[in-house]
């Protein structure tokens, strides 16, 4: 018998916070109400929804997750030390179970830069928050953005005044604890980049232990004219974690946004990643890597939208799938009628290490302009038998040879990482991942 979806859990939660919300500004209240309305009318998507056809939410919808921000995480600074991706030799902002922890966060103190939690920003920068919050995240086809909008309490807030160029990256850590019961968070993050700014942002979703967690973050990024943003989004949550997130970017004229989305942990992950090029001369790039084993499932649902002429977009997603893991890549490119001279390139490349690993990869081009260049390609395969033989013929044992080739396949994406400590930690993670891999026997076939 089909168990009921726990939609009531979220409706009840929304009811319960009404009194707290009454202190919020009216625009925010109506944003939340609209979100809840949207979520409750859609409910959880099913496999019958085209946008969700390869990712089953049945299990997620049935688990009675508690709102982690109401609970004591039991975490402190010790849990961060030694945790991969929690320290990057730069200043950071820390959220434990969705709650901002000023005691573990740094003060940035850079001219033209405001970094805080969003709850505080609603008070200290009300106009900025009102002008941007909820404007970019796409609720269409994605009730999880609506759910987040209705229930989010906090998140990070970054605001760069025009002309601010940061030397050091901004590091955000969202850490979920290893509690005994299933917990969830709905953080909402907002990044406002003025004109002619430069910033590197590292957004990490991490977990401790094997708890069943549900992270439902939304990050909205508005990139001003002539600004450059490098955004690294690393997810390494509990092996039993659910992660359904959205990242929406709005880009101005001559702006460059490069996102690198890396999924390492979690049992079920869905990332809705979207860039809208709304000023001429812009470049939107989203790259991604997923390293999957066991029964992990990662679904990257990407949309690059060319609203104006003379913009470029680039996408390179790579997957390494071991055991019985599965991956989904959907690359939607929308070129509006006026967006002439669009130059778009999309590549999805996957290594299946076993016969039972699966990948669904699908380009989806919607082109309404006639003078554009859009290319896409997908590869799904095993390791190159010729290259393996070449390495072995020089004395390198089979397992090591496989490791070298897999590492080379993935490391193409690390080469562009400008945050040195992050690049090193990613390489180390990959090496450890490879040395722990047990089922590479299926890799080598003719």
């Amino acid at each position: 018998m089909e168990l009921p979806q726990r939609q009531d859990l979220y409706l009840d939660h929304f009811e319960s916070i009404q009194s707290t919300l009454s202190q919020e500004p009216d625009w925010l209240k109506s944003l939340r109400s609209a979100g809840m309305e949207c979520f409750s009318s859609h409910g959880f998507p099913s496999l019958a929804d085209e946008a969700w056809r390869f990712t089953s939410l049945r299990e997620l919808a049935q688990i009675p997750f508690e709102f982690a921000e109401d609970l004591d995480s039991g975490l402190d600074g010790n849990d961060l030390s030694g945790l991969q991706f929690a320290s990057l030799n730069c200043k950071r902002l820390v959220f434990l179970n969705g709650s901002y922890r000023p005691d573990l966060s740094d003060v940035f103190g850079v001219q033209g830069l405001t970094v805080s939690n969003l709850e505080a920003a609603v008070v200290h920068s009300p106009e900025v928050v009102e002008a941007h919050l909820g404007r970019y995240a796409d609720q269409k086809d994605n009730p999880f953005v609506s759910l987040n909008t209705a229930l989010s309490r906090d998140g990070f807030f970054v605001n760069l005044e025009s002309g601010t160029r940061l030397e050091d990256p901004i590091h955000i850590v969202h850490l979920m604890s290893d509690s005994a019961t299933p917990i969830r968070t709905h953080v909402h993050n907002l990044v406002i980049v003025g004109d002619s700014c430069e910033v590197d942002l590292v957004e990490c979703y991490l977990g401790i232990g094997n708890n069943v967690t549900f992270t439902n973050p939304v990050t909205e990024i508005c990139v001003g004219n002539n600004s450059k943003v490098n955004h690294y989004r690393i997810q390494n949550e509990s092996p039993n974690g659910f992660h359904v997130g959205a990242n929406d970017v709005q880009q101005g004229r001559d702006s460059h946004y490069r996102g690198l989305v890396i999924d390492l942990g979690g049992q079920l992950v869905r990332n809705n990643l979207r860039c809208v090029l709304s000023g001429e001369g812009g470049l939107a790039g989203i790259d991604g890597l997923y390293l999957l084993r066991g029964r992990q499932h990662v679904d990257n649902y990407t949309t690059l939208e060319h609203a104006v002429p003379h913009c470029d977009s680039r996408e390179l997603f790579k997957g390494i799938l071991d055991d019985r893991s599965s991956g989904v890549f959907r690359g939607r490119i929308i070129v509006h009628k006026d967006a002439q001279k669009t130059d778009s390139k999309q590549t999805s490349s996957n290594l299946l290490l076993t016969d039972r690993a699966r990948i669904n990869t699908k380009p989806q081009l919607e082109i309404y302009a006639d003078d554009v260049k859009c290319t896409h390609g997908a590869t799904i395969g095993q390791l190159d038998a010729n290259a393996l033989f070449y390495l072995r013929s020089r004395g390198i044992p089979l397992q090591a040879a496989k490791g070298i080739l897999i590492f080379a396949f993935a490391s193409e994406l690390f080469e562009g990482v400008k945050v040195q400590s992050l690049g090193q930690q990613l390489s180390r993670y990959l090496e450890e991942w490879l040395s722990a891999s047990q089922s590479t026997e299926g890799v080598y076939r003719q």
Binding site: D384, N386, A387, F389, Y390, L391, R392, S393, R394, G395, I396, P397, L398, A400, A401, I404, L405, F407, A408, F409, S411, E412, Q446
Partner: protein, 259 residues
């Protein structure tokens, strides 16, 4: 050092080697020549352990070991090296990293200590000089974007680094201009020693003007049909391979009548 007896091999349904015999002693250089499709490259690949070729009969003894029983990496560890006719491009792996991994793998196999970074670099500079390999070639991914000549020189460079007991050069000369050919030949000659054997698989006599072999063998239809001194190569160059086929088609009959 190497003794091949009655070797039979095929790819899929296609039989390529049909009873090949060859003996190579330490310190010798042998050249194997023959027309296209005679089985030259198959022999090289079978020796290196490529599993697309199925050995259906015969034995290969390499310094007392049953070569056919060893994985490709074990053969390298035992001191066998094949310079590829078509060196493989490996994007994302730098030539230096690859070489060091190979050198250390071979050393580990032999129970020797791994080379440290300083010693490795010393060895690299010594050998790059010998083969006139540019430093940029070392930093670049293995063979990726290399010219034909650079790829072949890189093969001989690897050979120089790994110092094998037996080197098999599979058409290393093809596609090389005369200058590159001389560099490759110098590199190979520098490696000649009483402890080392070299098998040069080639279609042309040209390389043999620079690396003078001790013996020349002619391979035709999967077996060695003629062996002789270096002058045999010149004869082949002058007369082509056709006359051997005629001799060859006669010989089985002769053998039968004798038997």
């Amino acid at each position: 050092m190497l003794e091949i007896k009655d070797l039979h091999a095929r790819v899929g349904d296609q039989v390529i080697l049909r009873g090949l015999n060859l003996k190579v002693n330490a310190g010798e250089v042998h050249s194997i020549m023959g027309p296209n499709g005679s089985g030259k490259s198959t022999l090289a690949q079978v020796l290196a352990g490529r599993d697309t070729y199925e050995v259906t009969g015969g034995t290969i003894n390499f310094n007392g070991a049953d070569l056919l029983d060893l994985d490709p990496e074990e053969r390298a560890g035992e001191g066998l090296f094949m310079a590829f006719q078509y060196p493989v491009e490996i994007p994302g792996v730098s030539n230096t990293y690859f070489l060091r991994a190979a050198l250390n793998a071979v050393r580990t196999y032999r129970g020797e200590e791994e080379v440290d970074a300083a010693d490795f670099l010393d060895l690299v500079s010594e050998k790059t000089e010998l083969l006139k390999i540019g430093k940029d070639l070392l930093r670049r991914p293995v063979n990726e974007g290399f010219s034909g000549g650079e790829k072949k020189r890189n093969e001989i460079f690897q050979m120089a680094m790994l110092e094998p007991k037996l080197a098999i050069l599979d058409e290393t000369d093809s596609g090389l201009d005369i200058d590159a050919l001389k560099i490759v030949a110098e590199g190979v000659n520098a490696l000649r020693s009483p402890e080392r054997a070299i098998i040069i698989v080639t279609h042309y006599q040209r390389l043999l003007a620079y690396i003078v072999p001790d013996q020349v063998h002619v391979l035709s239809r999967g077996r060695i049909v003629k062996s002789g001194p270096p002058e045999l190569a010149l004869e082949l160059e002058a007369k082509g391979y056709g006359w051997l086929d005629e001799e060859n088609t006669e010989s089985p009959t002769a053998a039968q009548s004798r038997g």
